[in-house]
Amino acid sequence: MPDVKIFSFALRNVLRNRHRSLVTVLAMAFAGIIMIVFAALMDGFLDATERHAVIMNTGDVQIHAPGYMNDPDLYTYVDNTYELLSLLEKNGFYASPRLYGFALAAAGKSSAGVKLRGISINRENTVTEISRHVMLGAWLESGDTRGVVIGKKLARTLGVKVGDEIVIVGQASDGSMANDLYRVKGILKTVGDEIDQAGFFMLDTAFRELMVFPKGVHEIAIMRSNRDTDLELAKQRIEEIAGDYEIKDWQDLQPVIARILDLADAQKVIMILITYVAVATVILNAVLMSVFERIHEFGVMKALGVGPWFLVRLIFTELFIMIFAASIVALACGWFIAYRLELNGIDLSSIATGASFGGVAIDPVWPAKVTPGALFLPVLFLILIGFLAAVYPAVKAAVIQPVRAIYYR
């Protein structure tokens, strides 16, 4: 049936029962908007979680001496640090060397095991945002070798405030007793379980002095200068630079978060499907009604020699027109709302502060993120579900027997 203009015919049929078409389109559009906003919020949440995981501590990629990850020993360290750092920087990476040791911290009558973290503040600032995450007091300052910044829970365990003193006792690399007195310069906001409970940040110079550890570092945390580039490629490049060492990206280092992010797409699809079941019934109902009230008309058309495919195409085209209209509305409104939420996230600070998720702190302000997936996945599924819902009515119309249809009352 090449020559009947199905599209214009279908459009007129859609406009024929304006109210029903409008209600159907609005129902589809409404579900589409909800799903776009939901998907954008979900993407925003995941993006924030990923950024937190990476930006607060991990960085994109880390370099360790072989074996350090399994057994974090003071003597297992990266040797040619400065050569590596300059090579990494030449290749467009930010890199921060870190020193780690374990010790006992005591304040008044309380004590706790801590993980000493010796950092180079200028370099650390290029890789992570931890310096901006101070809750009370201030971040480390070069020259102030007595000043330390500690995790929130550790501060509570030790019962210390900003300005209080903490005694550190441990074993230095030469076997002597490492023992010194520090002053709390700052207390961090929630970052993640490890840092909250045992994080003890100090200047690298102070660490080297305390632990008698003159050279080498335990970890180099690396950040891509442009986070939109491919992580896998960056990792390969770093492997070329520092092949002798263990290279891990943040997904290896934070497998729980990585897994949650992996599963998020499946979750999104499931949510969309569940919501759309309701829409599917609306669509099914509308299309069925439109078929049943035209039984006589379809019968006449069949008597004139119209084949079953013609009617199937007609009904699908009619539905397509409605889905198309609904998609435009959903995209426009959904994008608008999601974009507003991207600019100003939902502020949850009154109900949730210092929450954490998979060991990673989350912001009290929940931002949306308008990604292509958040916009088009809901629309794609709308089209899919819509067409599924139309199969039954379309088949019904296709198999109508003209005699029965024409005398159908």
Binding site: A303, L304, I406
Partner: protein, 230 residues
Amino acid sequence: MTGAIVTMENVTKLYEQGKIEVRAVDNLTLTIQKGDFAALCGPSGSGKTTVLNLMGGLDLPTEGTIHIEQQNLSELSRSQISNMRRDRIGFVFQSYNLIPVMTAYENAEFVLKLQGVPEKQCHERVMNILAEVGLQGLEHRRPDELSGGQQQRVAIARAIVTRPAIVLADEPTANVDSVTADALLDLMQELNRVERTTFLFSTHDQRVMDRARRLIRLRDGRLEQDEVRA
């Protein structure tokens, strides 16, 4: 030139109505000749509509054979029958014949488009036919902007625009007033005379029967009388 357009041989059509079997058509043998202007008449339930549906391939007989232009319907597939209807048969039903969202012009054009007739040729033929049935100037009205008689004229135009072998009309005048009915009959008679289009219509209306050149009377699905007048 004469010749058989449709032949029915010993055709029986049974319908199940609950547990009762109804013989809508009972062992009927009937031939419609080219150029016929024939009326099927008989009391309600005598099988007129059923005969028309069987002849148009809208329904299949329980027994017997039907030939349309020498083609045995029972040997054709569904889609072949559908194409046969499209190309060789014109239908006019009692009411609601037209596609409501299409204009008079588009309704008349519909089957031509299905046949894939080129646009230019379509236009010419549709405009001619609409003029012939007296609808000049109303081409762009939709069915709900036309009177019942005008709607039936569009239906007749649509039935004849493809130059079918036969036009089957089931009580085409039942839903219009007598003046309009007369006009519709004038029209069909004229088409029959000028274009030699074969018409078979069913009717209850005595005046319609009076104008038929052949009167086929049915009773209980059987042929009671088949009279050809001068």
